[in-house]
Every structure is written in C-alpha cells, then in structure tokens.
C-alpha cells in the first residue's frame, strides 16, 4: 500500500506544481485589487466578482455554456456512429479509420482553423459553389457568425469524442451481444441495453474533453467569430493581456472553473445511473 502511494508521488508533485498551486494563485488574485496602471494591489476586494454580474458578462457567460453544450452534443451525435463504424469494421479499415481521424492533428491547429476562412468567406469556396449552381443570388454571410464558431469548434473537437468512444466500443466483449440475441433481443434492443451501456465510459470521457476544450477555446472564436462573438475565455484573455485587469480575469476564471466542475459532476451523476434509462415504453 505504501509503495503504491510512493508511486503516486511524481503524479501528485506534478499536479500540485502545475495545476493546484497555479489555480490557488489565480483564486488568490481574484480577491485582490489593481491600481490605475494595472499593477496588483494586495488588499482584499470582491470587485472582480461584482463586475461579473454585469448583464453584458452574464450574457457572454450564458452564451459560452450554450455554445459548449451544443458543440458537445453535436460532436457526440456525429462521433458515435463514426466510432461505432470504425470499432466494428475489419482490422484494416479500423487502422485507416483511426489514421483519418488523427490526420488533422498533423497540421497546426491555427492553420486548419484559418483554412475555414477560405471556405466560408464571401468569395470563398462554399459561396462560389452555391452561386455557380444558381442556388443563391447573393453570397451568404457565413464567416463571422455564431454558426461559423460552432462549426469550427465541432470540427476541431470531433477526434476528442471519436477516440474515447472507439476505445470503449473496441474493448467491449462482443459475446455480450450474442448473449443478448440469444435471450431474444433484437439488434436495436441489444444495442440499447448492452452496447450503449458498455460505451458509457467513452461517452463520458469524450463529452468532458470536448466540453472543457470548447469552454477554454478563444482562438476559434477570434478567427471565425470576428469581433462580434466572444466567449468567456476571450474576455479572460483580454482582461489578463489587454485590459490588465487581473483580478477580474481571475474572478472570471474561478467562476468558470467552478461552473464546469459542477456541470461535469452533474453529468457524471446522470451517466452513472446504472441503466441508461431509455424509455421502456418505446421497447
């Protein structure tokens, strides 16, 4: 047991040095003040938290949650069938499927995101094609819209969802399905009662990864959303780097970390309910 604990030491050290202590520092800063030049003043204040309740920031806060949840749900809907297909394909197809999923990672994330500008802008590929086909007369405003941000997020984070679900499906004992068929289950019922449950851990990991990554992402919003769309992470970034209002930026960070933690905990609770309660009536 003690050896077990000893083995954990490097992990704990790493976590405390690079995660817990920095977070405590951020939490500490959130209760400080700043002077006119943006220097931290070491006196207690909850000014940062008060500013958060400005309707402007509350709106952005809400938009961020909505966008992150939407991104997660869309990623899940697209990724589950993909992961399912890859996990059940012959080994050669599996290898290729996984390579194709990870290929985008070989290219810098900024470049991939900029590439969307070429596709979406007014004289971009999409608009040009649509006009060629005569489906539209005027170019559509695709870029610098919330839709473009959502698209960029989903595009970037799909692999984060596919891979954990694939792993869960691939590790699943396929004999369980035979057992379900043998006991009278149809293909669909076997999927609902067995496969879905056995891939729960992958769904959970994927959702948390995508959700947390989306909330923390400000580059996609900057590039594809233009000046109009902002996420909480954009505000945090500008408070630290532009406005030099560290206490406010830190307060926003603390609020957002707590929000994410609560949402993830609630999500885990719901998933942990032993059965995925799909309505029995529809059986």
């Amino acid at each position: 047991m003690s050896r077990h604990k000893l083995g954990m030491a490097p992990v704990l050290l790493w976590l405390s040095l690079f995660l817990i202590i920095p977070m405590l520092i951020v939490a500490g800063i959130s209760f400080l003040q700043r002077d006119a030049l943006g220097q931290l003043v070491f006196s207690f204040s909850i000014e940062g938290y008060k500013t958060f309740f400005d309707p402007l920031y509350l709106g952005i806060y809400w938009d961020t949650i909505v966008l992150s949840v939407t991104t997660t749900v869309i990623c899940l809907l697209i990724s589950y069938p993909m992961a399912y297909y890859i996990a059940n394909a012959p080994p050669r197809v599996q290898t290729w499927g996984l390579i194709l999923i990870t290929v985008p990672f070989w290219i810098n994330f900024l470049i991939r995101t900029y590439a969307w500008i070429l596709l979406l802008r007014t004289q971009g590929v999409v608009n040009t094609l649509l006009m060629e086909f005569g489906w539209i007369q005027e170019p559509l405003q695709l870029l610098y819209t919330p839709g473009a941000v959502l698209l960029g997020m989903v595009y970037n984070f799909i692999p984060f969802m596919v891979l954990p679900i694939y792993v869960a499906l691939e590790q699943m004992d396929k004999r369980l399905l035979d057992a379900a068929y043998d006991l009278g289950a149809s293909k669909w019922k076997a999927f609902r009662h067995i496969t879905l449950n056995q891939s729960k851990s992958g769904i959970m990991t994927g959702c948390v990864l995508v959700y947390v990554s989306t909330t923390g992402m400000f580059v996609v919003t900057d590039i594809l959303g233009g000046a109009k769309s902002a996420m909480i992470s954009n505000i945090i970034q500008s408070q630290f780097l532009g406005a030099r209002n560290w206490p406010f930026g830190a307060a926003l960070s603390v609020i957002f970390v707590l929000t994410s933690l609560i949402l993830i905990l609630l999500f885990n609770r719901a998933m942990q309910a032993r059965y995925l309660k799909v309505k029995e009536g529809g059986a």
């Binding site: 369980l176 068929y181 043998d182 006991l183 009278g184 289950a185 019922k189 032993r274 059965y275």
Partner: protein
C-alpha cells in the same frame, strides 16, 4: 418426440470443411453431448443450432419446425456461453430477467420466473450482486439461471464448466444432471472432457476433425467403440493389431498369467507401477513388440509388483473389441 433434427448439415469456412455432413436427431428431454478435442467442430455445430452460424448445406428443425433461416433471437432455445457472457452492468436478478423482458412478459410474471430460477440454482442470497462480485462457480450458476428462466425447449451448453477448477466441476456436474432431470428440458452439451461426457449424457456424439466418429450411449461407446479414435479418446485402451485388423482391450479386462505359460497371450516387462488406492495400474512393455500395455488391477490383487518383473498377460475373447479402421 423429436426435439432437434439436423438433416445433412455441413459448414465450410473459406472452402475448408469445418463440419462434414451430419444428420442427427435429438429426442425431447434427452441429454446429448458433443464430445471431441478442440477444433473438432463441436462448438460450430452448437452455434448452428443456436442460430449464430448458418450451415453451408442442410436443414435444422426445432420441435417440428424448420429453423435454418430463423435468427437466434427468434429460436426457442437458449445457450449457456463458455465464458458466461453475463451483462456486467446488471445485477444477477436483472441478468436473469433480461430474456423475459425482451419477451415483454408482465412484471409480476417476470418476478415469479426469476424467483423460480434463483431458487433452482441456489442464488437467492446473491440476487442483488453484480457479476464481478461473484466467484466463477456462482457466475456459472447465473448463466444457467438466465437461460432456464426463459423455459426454452432446448438448453445448449458450450463447455459450461471449462473455466472452473476440478472440485467445483465435480459438484456442478451433478447439479447440472439433477437440474436437467428436474426440468425435463433437452440439453445439448459441448465438452472436450470425456469423463464429464460419460457421466452426464444419455447419448454422446464423438467428433474428430469435423466428422462424427460414433454416436451412442456412454455404455455403447465404452464397451464397443467403432473407430480407433473413439476407442482411444474415451477411457484408456490398449490397441493390438492382428492379421484380421485392429482390436482393443480395456486395461481392466486384462488379467495376469504366468510368463511364458500356455495361458499367456503376451509377455512383457513391467515398466511402471501406479497406485491409485482403489486400483493399481501396471505399464508393461511387450516383448517382441514395440508396444506398451496398460492394465488395471483391483484391490483383490495384493501382490506387490516391481519394475522389471516379467509377466504374462491374458484376456478373454469376448473382451476383444474389433475396430473398424
């Protein structure tokens, strides 16, 4: 009444015959065992009866109905899987209720059936546990309970005791036999363990390389094996060749005689003595023949045999079993 009829079923994988054409009828309430070494096709036959494999040729009839193209979830039989395949996210009770739920049985009736099944398999105190909280023997009982709760016409068992240790196997073997008598359900049992097959079955099908070697009661197979494989796979045997062909003599049918006396058919040197309590066995190297013979002597023989002793062997003509090939 015939419960299962296999009419000329045959299975090929990539042009290879895994199961050669096989016809077999299984009676209602019969305990039939498919016995053979690994790769003999016994599991494939079982999976064809269950519906997980399609025969390349031939027909399968279940209780008077042709089911060759019926998917497994529509066949009124259940399979006990080799490694149980219990649903890890469901309790014992939920596992057992699964098949009944799939049949949309009313809740009260499901409870009744589950109760009945756990009582028969002595699982009542473990109902609320999850599979990973159970021992191997208990998991195996859940697998059986989950199958019999459906009251299938036929229960298929794929090496159900294969993963258990010897003592537990022995206990569960008698439990299984008892259960089969109590339920009166037809059992089709797959095993590579000849002792298990002998002990449990009404009839045994001996398979080798996808072909049937012999079908018969345990007694018929032991006393009158038809092929060399059947003669040596089930129980110990001594195979002799004579100008007329091969014949087999069981170790316990061989008696001792004075070496070189008129009553000795063969003479040989004792190479090993094995003492088992109720019997002891002598391994004898025959003179003039490159062959070892095993004979079993019962307790009445209190002579202490030494390695190196020269002895004569004898048996009666009626104990010579002529083998086809």
């Amino acid at each position: 009444m015939l419960m299962i009829e296999l009419i000329g079923i045959q299975k090929q994988f990539q042009g290879q015959d895994v199961v050669h054409p096989l016809s077999l009828s299984i009676k209602e309430g019969e305990f039939l065992t498919l016995l053979g070494p690994s790769g003999c096709g016994k599991t494939t036959i079982l999976r064809m009866i269950a519906g997980f494999e399609q025969p390349t040729e031939g027909e399968i009839w279940l209780a008077g109905q042709q089911v060759t193209d019926v998917p497994p979830n529509k066949r009124d039989l259940n399979l006990v899987f080799q490694h149980y395949a219990l649903f890890p996210h469901m309790t014992v009770e939920e596992n057992i209720a699964f098949g009944l739920k799939m049949k949309k049985m009313p809740k009260s009736q499901i409870e009744e059936r589950v109760e009945e099944a756990v009582t028969m398999t002595q699982l009542t105190p473990l109902k609320a546990r999850y599979p990973h909280q159970l021992s191997g023997g208990q998991q195996q009982r859940v697998a059986i309970a989950r199958a019999i709760a459906n009251k299938p016409k036929v229960l298929l068992l794929d090496e159900p005791l294969g993963a258990l240790d010897l003592q537990l196997r022995k206990n569960l073997q008698s439990e299984l036999k008892h259960l089969q008598r109590a339920l009166g359900i037809t059992f089709v049992y797959v095993t590579h363990d000849q002792e298990e097959a002998m002990m449990l079955s009404d009839r045994i099908v001996i398979l080798n390389g996808g072909k049937v070697e012999q079908i018969g009661t345990p007694r018929e197979i032991y006393a009158a094996p038809k092929t060399l494989f059947a003669a040596t796979f089930v129980g110990e045997n001594n195979i002799f060749s004579s100008p007329e062909g091969l014949f087999a003599v069981r170790p316990e049918k061989i008696s001792l005689a004075q070496a070189d006396s008129a009553s000795a058919r063969k003479t040989g040197v004792i190479q090993d003595v094995q003492y088992f309590g109720n019997v002891h066995k002598l391994m004898v190297q025959l003179e003039h023949e490159p062959m070892r013979v095993t004979l079993a002597l019962d307790l009445a023989d209190d002579h202490t045999w030494q390695i190196g002793d020269v002895i004569g062997l004898n048996w009666e003509d009626k104990d010579q079993v002529v083998i086809g090939s």
